[in-house]
């Protein structure tokens, strides 16, 4: 299974529909402070089923919805989709029939998130397990948020051991 694309609308500073293609090899993301680079990465973690708003720098999960500027009103809906290519047919059994798997998470202000996998309603747990079966996920070792390196360096030895448990 390969990641091929991320789409986001109304997610933090990405109020307008945005598409990020994920091609083979190394894709760089650049730009000045505060322009939205970490927001894109948080959109991916959020769509993978991140359940804690604090992990996304928010107080509540509604904080991921575009909150408005002086020229634009706040939105009430945020939606992120991750597109996976499954032509290798090595996806988890439940979804292996499909050539492409699209995971979508959508949140409506004051009314919580819902998930879809290929347009079928799904629970957060299903989505988390799907990505775990792909050796990834919002809390996995391969998703290194800004400040995570410093946290590993500063961690007490017992906290640091928990990194190993992902490998076990």
């Amino acid at each position: 299974v390969q990641f091929t694309r991320v789409r986001l609308t109304g997610f933090k500073s990405f109020v307008d529909p945005t598409e990020l293609d994920i091609a083979p090899g190394l894709t760089g993301v650049v730009g000045p402070n505060g322009c939205g680079k970490s927001n894109i990465l948080e959109a991916i973690r959020w769509c993978m089923g991140e359940g804690s708003a604090r992990q996304l720098r928010g107080g509540g999960m509604d904080d991921v919805i575009f909150s408005g500027t002086s020229d634009r009103p706040a939105r009430n809906i945020a939606e992120v989709s991750i597109e996976l290519d499954n032509h290798q047919k090595d996806a988890p059994t439940a979804v292996n029939e499909f050539d492409q798997i699209t995971v979508t998470r959508r949140i409506e202000r004051d009314s919580g998130s819902n998930y879809k996998v290929n347009n079928q309603d799904a629970r957060a747990r299903d989505v988390q397990l799907l990505f775990a079966d792909l050796q990834t996920g919002a809390r996995s070792t391969g998703i290194v948020s800004q400040g995570k390196i410093a946290a590993i360096v500063a961690a007490k030895t017992v906290e640091r051991r928990t990194i190993l448990e992902e490998a076990a």
Partner: protein
């Protein structure tokens, strides 16, 4: 539980030793469990000796050395179960140019070995130059982000305008 953790500790330690040497262009390092007979509650200690320096606990190394060592640990765990995607948010921030160079080489090698696709946020000119493609994020309209494909020269200009 206990057996699996000890087994993965050995695997991770093996990866960690070789990744450390690749990132530092030499030197030696290893992991130790502070309570080898109670791994499920043990701490994880990191002992590192950059090229030409004595073996020391992580806390005595420089800021950039600590970051590079932590990167080696993260990739060591990652390589036990490589994922299709790896996302790195400014992990190269405290690194000098020669360490960035070896970091980029390592990431290129992992991408080739495992087929993992990398998404790498960076402010470092050297890292940008090693990417296969670049996206720039701008806020031409204040508070509203836009994503745009850029070439290297446009990306370098983009570091400056805010």
């Amino acid at each position: 539980g206990r057996e699996r953790l000890l087994a993965s500790f050995e695997t991770v330690n093996g990866h960690f030793r070789s990744l450390f040497a690749r990132l530092y262009g030499g030197g030696r390092a290893h992991l130790t469990l502070t309570e080898a007979d109670d791994p499920l509650n043990s701490g994880l200690e990191i002992m590192a000796s950059p090229p030409g320096k004595r073996l020391q606990s992580l806390s005595l190394l420089s800021g950039g050395e600590q970051a590079l060592t932590a990167i080696a640990l993260l990739f060591a765990v990652f390589l036990t179960n490589p994922a299709p995607i790896c996302i790195l948010d400014e992990v190269d921030a405290p690194l000098d140019d020669s360490n960035v160079d070896r970091f980029c080489t390592l990431v290129e090698d992992i991408a080739e070995e495992t087929g993992t696709r990398f998404l790498i946020v960076t402010h470092h000119r050297l890292t940008m130059a090693r990417m296969d493609r670049l996206y720039g994020v701008t806020m031409a309209e204040r508070g509203v982000s836009q994503l745009v494909s850029v070439d290297l020269r446009a990306a370098e200009a983009m570091r400056e305008t805010a």
